[in-house]
């Protein structure tokens, strides 16, 4: 059967479409061929698939072949059944006949003969050559065609159709196509059935010894091929899948030793997409299919069908799995394969898959999910190829050019070394290359990490290559056959994870034959007698690879470092791009980092920085600090090279903010040093920098700082420094956010230089007076050299090493409260009662702080006019915590002697400087009283009042003001101003009354002393200096007659003194020359009072000490005496009214009698002598007056002369009314005695009923 393989393949190659046989009975084919061929390929066809379900296929390719054609004739029957798929699927019988007889006699028997073969699917095409204009010909042709139909069509199946060469043909072609399709469908069904039966038969015998895979393969592939020809790709693919499954089952069967293949030249290039890579005959060896070639062959067909089905995604997906699984198979047979054959194959396979699938792939056609997956697969393929490529590059000595990044290390460090049967040795002629390589190795300086970071380099190899290679060679020389022959055994030295999980099941290794001839050329040029040097290993690998790699491009990529990098970049970029497209950002970004590393090496810092930034952003965003710590120094270095100072500084900050364990302290100090160096030297412009991750801050635990409006303050905050070393900050400021309003209230507080120690620091910031409200922490800003930093993060105030060290949430706890403006202090006068005028008196000012400290307060005292501070005396200040209580209870008790509160009562003597008093410290938080000695001066003597014209002393005269201005607060920013009024007064108010004793012209002068102060006054003496016209009666010393001294006058009470005086002139007055117009009362008195309640002894006296040295005070008051007080010379009397009742409207005579009591010679009462002017005044509403209201009446000035003035009056209203009054305008009132001058009111009766008042209706 195997012999048929070659034939099978050639048939397959030559025949890729279905064949339709044409039985040209009437030699018509040459005429119609062209028109038939035009119909090909069939645009649309309906066929049955393997499960007999109708499937529409398009553009079904076919070929019309005459049955007489050699291709159809020369076939053996056996071939026919085996390669049945190439046999015609339909037979078209072309006939024409215009004569019925001819048909009956000649054509019909012939046709019967042709169609009797049941296996054919046939139908008759009757060609009518009759021209439509030729009626008879048309008719006869029609008759013949009818006959043909009768003969060959059955009810079940219409097998005839008519083709009018000259007529309209559209219907015919439709008919023809449907008939062809019917035939094809039937044939296909029958053949599928046949193949299936055959395959089933073979499958049943699968486990019999005689079973041959080759037969199965031909049948299966024939079926698949037939499906493919019929465009039933799905079915074809399924056949191939089954075939592969079956093959894999048989190929691993124990006892079936097979040649693996893959040792021929060119096998290193994957042929998994090239079905015709090798002829089938080469794949088969001794009735068995070589796995290496055959699996690729099968995959190639599968992928071809998938491409036809427009499923490139599936090619990539199946391809990736295929590469992985096939790579495992290659590992199994690695000892038989050339050096690194597996790696090379994987690289080429990945590359082929990528190119083929991406060229077939049309973006946007498939669902987004599939698209994503497709790109992911592409990325995987790129990635896989990249890793293998890196491995080869490492072997040939480009290890130094491979970035030792986590991705490369993770890929390579766990990837086992190739295990050739014998590790290649150096060819003899390659000594110069070895030297060159060694030179190169010596020249390469090991790359150091930036900032002097010391890290163990990440490995790119599972075990050290030098050791691995030499161990393998040593074991060879020692003849360790087991090691040579079975490279898959578990490593006995336990070095690294060499025994990979990809190692096959040990059971399957049994019996793997070893053929040295398969090892790569040049391996056995002499047993090695000494260990190879690394350069030799590289050169040896290079030579061995040269033997392995047949792909020139690949070899070129490995030939020089530049080419290697080019290819490396291509693969990396491809992987990264595809991963990005598939949204596998982590994979993509990591590979971006690899590209960045290459860019960096080549000085393309800009590109490198961009890519590194992406990587860093990813790791930082997701908090993978260990990975970030690996990349961030590279980014920093790029930024340094690009002179991107802001970026560089920011990277330094980020490096410092990483977990402390990730870097050594020395390294972290280096970061900081770099930061400080830049901040202080190179920056031209200030650079803003966010150090939130490094410097965090929080308020001091406890209640917030409370400030009064307008007060500055100092705010302490805890600042956590993440710097490894002390950090000097040139300035620090902190903004506070007002909680009441987000827009306003950012208030900066400043501190000058601060040194931050690593860890917790307390920074004190001075606070400008903020607006009232409560504030939370805002932003911490500051400056280090030219660097402006700011931090937004708030630490919770816990220790730095606790997990909740940092909190991104804004603290809601207020840190500062500023109260609304309120009274912070109150100044008031201690007393409101008057003090003694013209004496030095204490005035007390109560200073009452209202929940506020008055530390260092200064009181400015400014006295108003008429008041002065007696500077010769000190100012006293005493606490008065109990003042308010003691005041009402003990108004007279002396504060200093008050027993109970003395225990905590403080007092101090202060001096006044420039009108200012500085408060002592103790007075800052207690109520206190400042006693100021003041002296209110008044030059005028007080005037007494008489009983005739009583008048109270004017309060305003004794008012004085003291303007107070208290400066207080931390920086004397608060002021309190108040003007207090102090009331001064004389001790007494003097009033007098004089009474005629009617005895020898003496008068009694009563002087009433009314105390005006809140103190007990004691009068010790009093004397009166009388004015002119009065003399003392009696003793004549001016002392009162009816009183005994001392006379105590309690507050607000009165005391009286009576003097005996008489009218007369003082003898010897003329000698003095001066007249005394006013009398002066002198009073010597003493005062006992308390300054806390009112007037008190003057300050000077207090200091003078005891009672013995008492100094009495003197009070002088002016008294005005008038003479004579009772001496009228004229009297006016109201004569009684008539006894009858006064009635309204009734005339009443009102009479007054005027009488001269004394001679009035010296008085001018009228310009007309002997006449007196009178005037009657009456309310015109009440009275109607008849007669003269005003006039002169004759009256002699002699004593006793009298006259009656009578006026008629009519009362107008009833009730008590005031009667008319008589006045004498020209006579002084004091000369008239008119007591009483007339009745106050008279009673007027209502009028008697009288018609005269009636109003006519």
């Amino acid at each position: 059967m195997a012999n048929y393989l070659a034939q099978f393949q050639s048939i397959k190659n030559s025949c890729d479409h279905i064949v339709i046989a044409v039985e040209d009975v009437s030699d018509l084919w040459p005429t119609v061929k062209g028109r038939f061929d035009e119909r090909l390929p069939f645009r649309r066809a309906c066929l049955n698939n393997k499960t007999r379900n109708p499937v529409f296929v398009e553009n079904l390719n076919a070929e019309f072949i005459l049955t007489t054609d050699s291709r159809l004739r020369s076939r053996f029957p056996q071939e026919q059944s085996l390669f049945w798929f190439r046999e015609p699927y339909a037979t078209v019988v072309l006939v024409t006949c215009e004569d019925l007889d001819e048909f009956k006699t000649i054509l019909k028997p012939r046709l019967k003969l042709i169609v009797q073969n049941d296996e054919r699917e046939w139908f008759i095409v009757f060609v009518s050559r009759a021209h439509p204009s030729n009626d008879s010909a048309t008719k006869s042709a029609k008759k013949v065609y009818d006959k043909v139909q009768v003969e060959f069509s059955t009810k079940k199946r219409e097998r005839c159709c008519k083709f009018d060469i000259h007529g309209p043909e559209a219907l015919f072609w439709e008919d023809l196509e449907s008939k062809i399709m019917e035939c094809v469908r039937n044939t296909l069904d029958r053949r599928v059935q046949f193949y299936e039966d055959e395959i089933r038969k073979l499958s049943e015998q699968r486990f019999m010894p005689i079973w041959n895979f080759c037969n199965f393969f031909i049948l299966k592939e024939s079926l698949a091929f037939m499906f493919e020809m019929a465009h039933l790709y799905e079915d074809a693919l399924r056949e191939y899948d089954e075939l592969e499954l079956c093959y894999l089952e048989t190929v691993n069967m124990i006892g079936k030793q097979r040649d693996f293949g893959g040792v021929e030249h060119g096998d290193d290039q994957a042929a998994l997409l090239n079905p015709g890579n090798k002829p089938l005959s080469q794949i088969v060896q001794d009735d068995s299919f070589r796995e290496f070639e055959f699996r690729q062959y099968l995959f190639a067909y599968q992928s071809k069908l998938l491409f036809k089905l427009n499923r490139p995604f599936e090619v990539a997906s199946r391809g990736y799995s295929f590469v992985i699984s096939f790579s495992k198979s290659l590992t199994l047979h690695e000892h038989k394969l050339p050096f690194c054959m597996r790696e090379v194959w994987v690289i080429t396979a990945c590359w082929d898959l990528i190119t083929a699938s991406s060229s077939e792939y049309k973006a946007g056609v498939v669902a987004p999910d599939i698209e994503k997956e497709f790109y992911r697969l592409q990325g995987d393929l790129f990635s896989l190829g990249r890793v293998k490529f890196l491995r080869l590059a490492y072997l040939v000595g480009y290890g130094n050019d491979i970035e030792r990044s986590p991705v490369n290390s993770a890929s390579l460090s766990m990837l086992p070394w190739p295990r050739p049967s014998v590790w290649p040795s150096v060819p003899t002629e390659a000594s110069s290359e070895v030297l060159e390589k060694e030179k190169l190795i010596l020249q390469t300086t090991p790359k150091t990490k930036h900032f002097g970071i010391q890290r163990k380099k990440l490995p790119l190899e599972p075990t050290v290559l030098l050791r691995e290679a030499n161990r393998r060679r040593a074991s060879l020389s020692a003849g360790n056959a087991f090691e040579i022959f079975d490279g898959h055994s578990v490593m006995t030295d336990g070095s690294g994870p060499d025994g990979s999980s990809k190692s096959p099941n040990p059971q399957k290794k049994v019996g793997i034959s070893m053929s040295r001839t398969f090892s790569s050329p040049g391996n056995f040029e002499g047993p090695p007698d000494r260990p190879m040097r690394i350069a030799e290993i590289h050169v040896a690998a290079q030579h061995a690879l040269q033997g392995t790699i047949s792909d020139e491009d690949l070899w070129k990529s490995l030939s020089t470092v530049e080419e290697f990098e080019k290819k490396y970049l291509e693969l990396t970029k491809g992987a990264a791009d595809n991963y990005h497209r598939s949204w596998w950002k982590r994979h993509g970004v990591v590979l971006d980092g690899e590209i960045a590393a290459v860019c960096f090496r080549h000085g393309n810092f800009d590109q490198a920085a961009k890519s590194y930034e992406k990587v860093c952003a990813l790791y930082a965003g997701e908090g993978w600090q260990e990975l970030l710590a690996d990349v961030l120094p590279n980014l920093a270095e790029c930024q340094k090279m690009l002179n991107d100072q802001a970026g560089y500084l920011s990277s330094c900050i980020r490096l410092l903010s990483l977990d402390k364990s990730l870097f050594l302290n020395k390294e972290r100090e280096a970061f900081q040093a770099e930061l400080v160096r830049l901040a202080h030297s190179e920056l031209k412009d200030p650079v803003p920098l966010d150090v939130s991750s490094l410097i965090t801050f929080s308020g001091i635990p406890g209640p917030p700082l409370e400030l009064c409006d307008g007060d500055p303050g100092t705010l302490s905050v805890t600042v956590w420094s993440g710097f490894p070393d002390d950090m000097t900050l040139d300035s620090v400021s902190l903004t506070l956010m007002a909680t009441f309003n987000a827009d306003v209230g950012a208030k900066a507080v400043r501190s000058t230089t601060a040194v931050l120690k690593p860890g917790r620091n307390t920074v004190t910031l001075s606070l400008l007076p903020p607006k009232p409200g409560s504030y939370v922490l805002g932003v911490l800003t500051g400056q280090i050299g030219q660097l402006r930093f700011r931090s937004h993060s708030f630490s919770k105030g816990g220790p730095a090493d606790s997990d909740d060290f940092m909190s991104y949430e804004k603290p809601t706890r207020p840190i500062l409260k500023v109260f609304k403006p309120r009274a912070l202090v109150d100044l008031a006068a201690v007393i409101s009662s008057p003090l003694l005028i013209n004496e030095i008196q204490w005035t007390g000012i109560v200073v009452r702080p209202i929940d506020y400290l008055l530390k260092g307060a200064i009181l400015h005292i400014d006295t108003g006019p008429g008041l002065s501070i007696e500077k010769s005396f000190v100012i006293e200040m005493e606490s008065c915590a109990n003042l308010s209580q003691s005041e009402p209870d003990t108004p007279n008790s002396s504060g200093s002697q008050n027993g109970s509160p003395t225990a905590y009562k403080q007092s101090e003597q202060l001096t006044l400087e420039d009108g200012k008093v500085n408060f002592p410290d103790w007075a800052s938080d207690v109520d206190s009283v400042i006693w100021v000695p003041i002296w209110a001066k008044s030059d005028s003597l007080p005037r007494g009042s008489s009983s005739v014209s009583p008048q109270r002393p004017n309060m305003v005269d004794g008012m004085r003001t003291i303007a107070l201005n208290l400066e207080f607060g931390a920086s004397h920013n608060q002021t309190f101003e108040r003007t207090i009024a102090v009331h001064f007064s004389d001790p007494f108010h003097v009033s007098s009354r004089v009474i005629d004793r009617c005895n020898e012209g003496t008068l009694l002068l009563q002087v009433i002393l009314q105390s005006q102060v809140q103190a007990t006054l004691t009068v010790y003496d009093a004397w009166l200096e009388l004015q002119d016209g009065f003399v003392h009666a009696g003793r004549g010393d001016g002392r009162p007659t009816l009183v005994s001294f001392p006379l105590a006058v309690s507050p607000t009470s009165k005391g009286g003194i009576i003097f005996n005086i008489s009218l007369g002139r003082t003898i010897g007055k003329d000698e003095n020359g001066a007249e005394q117009p006013e009398s002066i009362l002198n009073i010597r008195y003493g005062i006992s009072g308390d300054r806390t309640s009112g007037a008190h002894p003057p300050v000077a006296m207090e200091y003078s000490g005891s009672d013995s040295a008492r100094k009495d005070l003197t009070f002088r008051s002016v008294l005005v005496l008038q003479r004579p007080v009772l001496d009228p010379c004229m009297a006016v009397g109201f004569l009684p009214l008539p006894s009858v009742d006064l009635r309204v409207g009734q005339l009443v005579p009102m009479k007054w009698r005027v009488e001269i009591l004394k001679d009035m010679e010296d008085k001018e009462i009228s310009k007309h002598n002997e006449e007196v002017l009178y005037e009657v005044n009456a309310n015109p509403e009440n009275w109607m007056i008849a007669g003269r209201k005003r006039g002169y009446i004759p009256l002699s000035k002699k004593q006793g002369s009298r006259i009656v003035i009578s006026v008629l009056c009519v009362p107008l209203v009833a009730g008590y009314v005031r009667p008319p009054q008589l006045g004498l305008p020209n006579v002084d009132e004091s000369d008239i005695s008119c007591n009483p001058p007339g009745p106050h009111l008279v009673c007027i009766m209502p009028p008697a009923l009288s018609s005269s008042f009636c109003i006519p209706v």
């Binding site: 290390s409 025994g499 596998w584 982590r586 990591v590 260990e626 990975l627």
Partner: protein
């Protein structure tokens, strides 16, 4: 051959919140970083896979040569990867 396993808990926003190296084998110095890298890369796969299945335990979602990644996804999308 014992190699250390790495266990890591990743919060829903992909931030590692707990890491532990488990296993008795002698530690390779670079293993931690490699493990981190492998586990981080596996997040790409988890993000795709977690929403396609109702299972919480996703076994063998990724392998890096001999490192196998399995994930337990909690209801709150916190991952336990090892």
């Amino acid at each position: 051959m014992a190699i250390t396993a790495s266990f890591i808990i990743v919060s829903r926003n992909d931030i590692p919140i707990y890491e532990a190296e488990v296993g008795s084998a002698t530690k390779r110095e670079d293993a931690a970083q490699l493990h981190q890298f492998v586990l981080h890369a596996a997040l790409d796969i988890v993000q795709d896979l977690a929403w396609t299945t109702s299972a919480m335990f996703l076994k063998n979602i990724d392998r890096f040569n001999d490192l196998v990644v399995s994930v337990y996804v909690t209801a709150g999308h916190i991952l336990f990867i090892y």
